[in-house]
Amino acid sequence: MNKLLRWLFSLHLGVVLFVIISIYAVLSTLLPQGLPVEHYLQEYNFGAVIIAFGLHNAYSSWIFRLLMFLLIINLTGCTAKLIPSQLKRYKESFTPALKQNAENLWKDGMSVNQIKQTLATKGFKWSEKDGDLWGVKHRIGIFGSTVTHIGIIIIVLGSFVGNYFAHEGFFNLMPGERATFHDQNFSVLLKDFYIEFRDDNSVDQYYSELNVLQNGDIIKEETIWVNRPMSHEGIQFYQSSYGWASRLRITDTEGNEVMNRFLRNDESVFFEPAHLTIHLFGYFPDFTMGHNNMPVTRSERQVNPHYAVVLYHFGEFADSFIINPDQSFTFQGYEIEFSDSVLYTGLIYRRDYGYYFVLLGCILLMAGLFMAFYTYPKYILLRKGELYAITRQNAWGFTMWLKRQFNL
């Protein structure tokens, strides 16, 4: 039991986990993720293995969770084990042992006092122990690895717990429409959505002007774009996609309007009186014919607007048209036309408090690394005729630095 526990908290297991997680991650990037199970069984010789190891959904598989769980246990144990010795070494009275092959940097003509003074200006604090002089700097850096490890633990836990409680969704709005968040007691109204173009008609940016409404009052007005979400009550709203919606009008032989509604690209509507399905194949604001005779748009600017429409009668293909907003076509006496195309916006919303923990973990991680690599503890042992640079992390670099201070 004891042995198992010791292994669970050992660097040995840590290294094994590093290797396994890396291999697992490499394999996951070589396989398409999230397809139906049958796909893997058919396409790959090792389909069953892929499924068994959860590699088709690598990061929500039980294997990955198990690996992460073990990593956290291992890392927590490892870190906890180290803390007592670090606390001991952090004490002011602590001095490290001198290595046998340590290089004595003392040169004739040096003076103890001068060395003390020079290094004191570089931040070394001097004390005496058993007749030797010890200079020390950056003792705090002893905790670098611990701070780093705690950062990792917080990141992994924060992301798992965060994802578990995170709340995400997607909605489309046309200008004037609103989305209501019942559990939140507010709604989001799209005042306007527009695209800003550059001279070459390519897209510069997408803008959604949003109002947040509560009990009929506007409590917030914000314009969001890609890279600038709106935040409200812990929920972030992101500009994510867009599309065109176009007005379909059908009039009968007497000129009465019998249908008037918006259709999105690739959306169909069934018109009962004529048993007609009208499919808006697409709206092409800057229309041109592409190769193999498919309509395409050169940009999202309404330079040469056209609609491509396909009709199905009793479920059978009946006809297709490419028309502009001033044109119409008739089917069994009904006049069908498209016009008034508007952009709608696609917004993602997400609430994930785990993110703030992950962020905290990242800050600790970076601070810990900086401590471990740069503000690691540095000791200088000074006796008459002897001068040593002592450190665990970077003996060579610290020795070199010390030599430079005295032009050795």
Binding site: I21, S28, V203, Q205
Partner: protein
């Protein structure tokens, strides 16, 4: 003629400079003549200055840092490699390292020269101040890993070389190479951590999630794990010398794959080519 013409001109001059420098460094290894080393470093420095001028022209013309397509990354990456090398040279007086670093710079620049180089405005997802931090740190991080890789190659070659006295004088002491490679890796690792963290923060503001296991993200994490392994084995198990050198080379292969391979072989929303 526009600034981009001059950008191309200076780019080509710098490229030529790096080729000459690479050759000179190799001559240095064979001949062990001090003068050739001085010449190689001088050419590298001049090439670097020309390269910097080329980049400045592009920055003026495009109105932003050259961080937004594969050509610009490769170009900045080259610049980062040479910058790190020159720093190592002038700070630690490690001249011969150039023999294994400059060819990397020259290959990367050659790769850049094959890519389309027109200045395109930034697509919406790239319009963020995080772009500067994310790619800026990536440039130095990758540059540092390239230098660590060059040092490791030297270490491996040197550890089986004859005891030719003159060459020994030229090549730095093995312990120093080993240590320096470690220090440079540690720096690159810290920078890589900032790359990944800033990327996550940026991804959250652009795409709503901070981490989605997209192949580019995953590969940067794999690279990071490999260097984590390196640091732990070195620090706790005393893996120095040859195994550490091999690790460093494998790590750099991962860096290159993350940078080029992922775009070529794996589908990713990160592929801005």
């Amino acid at each position: 003629m526009g600034l981009l013409f001059y950008e191309e001109l200076f780019f080509m001059l710098a490229f030529a400079g790096y080729i000459v420098a690479s050759i000179a460094f190799f001559v240095l290894l064979v001949s062990a003549k001090d003068k050739i080393g001085k010449f190689a470093v001088a050419i590298t420095t001049v090439g670097f200055a020309l390269h910097t001028v080329a980049m400045v022209f592009r920055v003026i013309e495009s109105g932003r840092l050259p961080f937004s397509n594969q050509y610009e990354f490769a170009n900045s990456f080259t610049w980062g490699i040479v910058l790190c090398y020159l720093f190592i040279h002038f700070y630690y007086r490690f001249t011969a390292v150039g023999a294994f670093v400059m060819p990397l710079a020259f290959l990367m620049m050659g790769y850049a020269s094959l890519l389309p180089r027109h200045v395109r405005p930034l697509m919406p997802a790239l319009q963020s101040r995080w772009l500067t931090i994310h790619v800026g740190t990536a440039v130095v991080s990758y540059g540092a890993f390239a230098v660590a890789c060059g040092l490791s190659v030297i270490y491996l070659l040197n550890s089986r070389k004859s005891n030719d006295e003159q060459k020994k004088k030229l090549l730095p002491d093995q312990d120093a190479v080993d240590f320096l490679s470690y220090r440079v890796t540690a720096f690159g690792y810290l920078m890589l951590t900032i790359v990944i963290v800033s990327g996550a923060i940026w991804a959250r503001s652009a795409w709503s999630r901070y981490w989605a296991w997209d192949p580019k993200e995953t590969w940067s994490l794999i690279t990071w794990l490999i260097y984590s392994l390196y640091l732990h084995l070195r620090f706790n198990r005393g893996w120095k010398g040859r195994p550490a050198a091999w690790f460093s080379i494998i790590g750099f292969a991962c860096v290159i794959f993350t940078f080029i391979g992922v775009n070529m072989y794996l589908p990713s929303i990160h592929s801005y080519v």
